[in-house]
Symmetry: C2
Subunit: 123 residues, 2 copies
């Protein structure tokens, strides 16, 4: 079954300010309070959980959304692999986007469902 493509491009089109990190810089650490999700505009970011690399993210992808959706400390550490430009999206901005753009909320729901399925296949 083909998965419908998910479109999160409006996160990059919202005209929000960017933030630059140099290679090897820590973006956030496990245990940090979550204040934003981050969209990768350029460069590459690794997410570490304990000693595992659990994700490598490139342009157009985002991370840190789970702690933002349901407030909790970061449970992974995000590190710039290369020089990186990110677009931070605050909780307030995120809630505004979800409220005004149901298709974004639906695509985010679909993303989470696909992650759940990838973990255990349960309905």
């Amino acid at each position: 079954m083909a998965n419908a493509p998910l479109d999160f491009s409006l996160l990059l089109k919202a005209g929000l300010p960017t933030r630059a990190y140099v290679a090897d810089e820590v973006i956030f650490r496990e245990g940090d309070k979550a204040e934003a999700l981050f969209v990768v505009q350029s460069g590459s970011v690794e997410i570490h959980a304990g000693h595992r690399v659990v994700a490598i993210l490139g342009p157009g992808e985002f991370f840190g959304e789970m702690s933002l959706v349901d407030p909790a400390p970061r449970s992974g550490t995000a590190i710039a692999v290369t020089d990186v430009t990110l677009v931070p999206v605050s909780e307030k901005q995120f809630l505004k986007i979800v409220s005004e753009t149901p298709s974004f909320a639906l695509d985010l729901l679909r993303l989470f469902v696909r992650r759940l399925r990838a973990r255990d296949g349960y309905y």
Copy 2:
């Protein structure tokens, strides 16, 4: 950290028609096409995945939402444990609720995030 309570009660307040099942009746089977999620109005429902019971649901709880959010065949079988009254919510009704009620979409996002955390704790 206390989890904020999630409120899905509007699914029961939408005035949608109910559907009755008798004890031991199959509501849907693994592999079935998904046409609705079901809210339990009364009684108890078990979800089986293979030979495991993966969930037991009571009044106010719902099931079958994952296949509805992201179309896919049912990956579990739902069986009425007692006589049961359910409220089926079609994809069209579900999309309408998400579009008109951002707080519902947000609570559903939170539910999925909590499930993901329960599985592997990753951010």
